[in-house]
């Protein structure tokens, strides 16, 4: 592994769910990479495959789901070839995931201090229990939990939902992992608490070179946080690139629709753009481009599934009618 090997490189990842009604291609040829200290935003509407992408990277897909293709290279090692024991050693140690549901991280029958101290000492057994407790208390403080000393002795059910999520985030930050996959962790939290958590995440990436994948449907959060962005629709990445490039010059009609529907400063009192129609079921995707039925620019050319194109360095796009001349913009 050389210094410029990305922390995580995902190539053509495919994860399918083999259900009674057919095969749902929840992740259908997804590729991206995240380098040391880099933050990638992964956005898309619910059901587009964001969480399953995260689960696939960590080897957490359960039947009827299965990773059926691709590579997941973590610091050069293919995670898909590791056995359960190897994966478990990386999780909670070099790689952490923050789930949409904090109870996927927290054990309901253990006190918070027990869980946190265990996490610290699993990573480094030479740390004393007292030292581990001190680190745990600091981590709770970092995510804005008042009176962390008292809270350490509590059980998860004694916290409100928002506080539980903060405890789960504190556990993920505890060992300063090399990669964090955060799945909509702050969607339900207040802006001030969210700001505090984004501050800690940003600091970790800057100070220790942690690579971060932030999954969300909130584009404004990504705008303030990420270095690059991948937009998913129906299991595929439809647009990808440097943050400013994609937000300022969105080329895919779906990306443009998402950006247009965000309320804010310039929309006061105006009608918001609505993407017509609804997310299609993965079992009944239209032939050709999956966005076809909702796309204002669809025509005959969209009857064949568009391939990924790379109009300029660092940009990927899956559309036969890009809405901006990317080569022109870049120059």
């Amino acid at each position: 592994m050389t210094d410029d090997t990305p922390t995580l490189q995902v190539e053509n990842l495919e994860t399918h769910f083999f259900t009674k009604d057919g095969v749902a291609k929840a992740v259908d040829g997804v590729s991206f990479s995240v380098g040391r200290g880099e933050i990638m935003g992964l956005v898309g509407e619910s059901g587009s495959g964001k969480s399953v992408t995260g689960f696939s990277i960590l080897g957490l897909v359960d039947p009827p789901g299965k990773v059926v293709g691709g590579k997941v290279l973590f610091q050069g090692t293919d995670l898909l070839s590791l056995d359960d024991e190897g994966l478990r050693r990386l999780r909670g140690n070099r790689i952490a995931m923050i789930f949409q549901d904090p109870m996927m991280t927290l054990n309901p029958v253990l006190r918070v201090d027990t869980q946190m101290i265990e996490t610290v000492r699993a990573h480094d057994p030479s740390v004393s229990v007292d030292e581990a407790r001190a680190r745990s208390r600091d981590a709770l403080g970092q995510v804005g939990i008042p009176s962390p000393d008292e809270r350490l002795r509590a059980y998860p059910h004694q916290f409100s939902g928002g506080m539980r999520q903060r405890v789960a985030i504190a556990i993920a930050l505890l060992n300063k992992p090399d990669l964090i996959i955060a799945d909509e962790p702050t969607t339900a939290l207040d802006v001030t608490i969210q700001g505090q958590i984004l501050y800690e995440a940003q600091k970790l990436c800057r100070d220790t070179g942690t690579a971060l994948i932030w999954i969300t449907h909130d584009l404004a959060v990504i705008a303030g946080l990420a270095d690059k962005i991948s937009v998913m629709y129906a299991g595929r990445i439809v647009e990808q690139g440097a943050l400013d490039e994609v937000l300022d010059h969105p080329a895919h009609p779906y990306t443009r629709g998402l950006l247009g529907s965000v309320p804010g400063h310039n929309t006061r009192g105006k009608r918001l753009y609505q993407i017509p129609g609804m997310t299609p079921s993965l079992l009944k995707l239209p032939k050709g481009c999956a966005f076809k039925d909702r796309c204002p620019h669809a025509d005959q050319a969209c009857e064949d599934a568009p391939e990924i194109t790379r109009p300029v360095e660092g940009r990927a796009l899956r559309c036969v009618h890009p809405q901006v001349d990317l080569a022109g913009v870049a120059s």
Binding site: Q142, Q158, Q202, H265, R271
Partner: protein, 330 residues
């Protein structure tokens, strides 16, 4: 514009039950037997007919409690709620019933608030039949009309809630509220559970309904961008109290109260890139044990000795604009 709703010193206290209190006391290291939460603490507010008032504040500050009292689902511990100049709790039966229908509430979780065993036509049609808004014979047509109004295909009226998407379920909730011909809607995080593209549809629907039906809204949300988009005026709450009320422009362009300013600093915006997020200054207080004086003083960069002792009153600082901060005393 005439005032349609007025809150005068409205307060709601919850007494925590002993077992919960015991746990809390242990957690807080305090030696208390019974805990009182001042969920809403002396709130006064006037809302004009046809207005959209946004209500913003951190989790637990009392927004839902205030909304429930306005909607008549919960009684205030103290203070008066006036609807069209009459005190709601003192109304005789008929007027009380009319007011209860006139003010409807729309909830965050569209699924939990719909009875899973009822068909959509009954969810929407039940209350208007009961209250004589429509007759049983005309109910089918009436329900179809309301469904169309919120963008639901009347073909779906025989379906159950689980057969709809999140956005459609929220429309069912809105249709149920509209079916009794309300004048005033309390929306409590009504779009928080929806995807961005669906959020846009529901926000647009709320704005259309306002135009077409002359509705007044109390719009509760922790999403400041949505509040900025939809509201005429914004009310900011902190730990049970109102700290600032102003027009949407004034709040978002030149907030007066230090808490409002802190809140707005953290709002993510599409046009702000590479933002340096900041940690919260000071401790986040518990609503069980709010700090004395100005509740915000442990987090306020401008706090003085006076702020730790004396509660700042809401004062008019410009026409139509109030704020509760000692800094305004100059």
């Amino acid at each position: 514009m005439s005032t349609i709703l007025e809150l005068d010193g409205v307060t709601k206290n919850f007494v925590k039950r002993l077992d919960a209190a015991a746990k809390l006391a242990r957690r807080l290291g305090a030696d208390v037997k019974e805990e009182v939460v001042h969920a809403v603490d002396g709130v006064s507010l006037k809302i004009a007919a046809g207005e959209v008032v946004g209500l913003v504040g951190e989790s637990g500050c009392g927004k839902s409690t205030l909304g429930r009292m306005v909607a008549g689902i919960m009684e205030p511990t103290a203070g008066d709620i006036r609807y069209k100049d009459r005190i709601v709790s003192a109304m005789e039966k008929q007027a009380g019933r009319e007011t209860a229908l006139a003010i409807q509430m729309i909830f965050q979780d569209p699924f939990a608030s719909l009875n899973p065993r009822m068909r959509v036509q009954d969810i929407i049609g039940e209350a208007p039949i009961l209250h004589g808004v429509t007759s049983r014979a005309d109910a089918a047509d009436y329900v179809a009309q309301v469904m169309e109004r919120v963008g639901l295909d009347p073909e779906y009226r025989k379906r159950y809630p689980h057969q709809f998407s999140g956005g459609q379920r929220q429309r069912i909730g809105i249709a149920r509220a509209l079916a009794v011909k309300p004048e005033f809607l309390v929306c409590d995080e009504a779009i928080a559970a929806l995807d961005v593209s669906i959020q846009a549809q529901v926000i647009n629907l709320f704005m259309d309904l306002r135009e077409d039906l002359d509705l007044t809204y109390l719009f509760i949300s922790h999403d400041l961008s949505v509040v900025e988009h939809i509201s005429d005026r914004v009310v900011i709450m902190y730990l049970g109290r109102i700290v600032e009320i102003a027009s949407t422009e004034d709040i978002f362009d030149s907030a007066n109260h230090p808490y409002t300013q802190a809140l707005l600093n953290e709002v993510p915006r599409l046009d702000v890139r590479g933002f340096d997020y900041q940690p919260i200054a000071g401790e986040i207080p518990s609503p069980l044990d709010p700090p004395p004086g100005c509740h915000f003083h442990p987090r306020c960069p401008h706090a003085t000795a006076r702020c730790r002792e004396e509660r700042p009153q809401l004062r008019e600082i410009a026409p139509g604009r109030v704020s509760a901060c000692h800094l305004n005393d100059g």
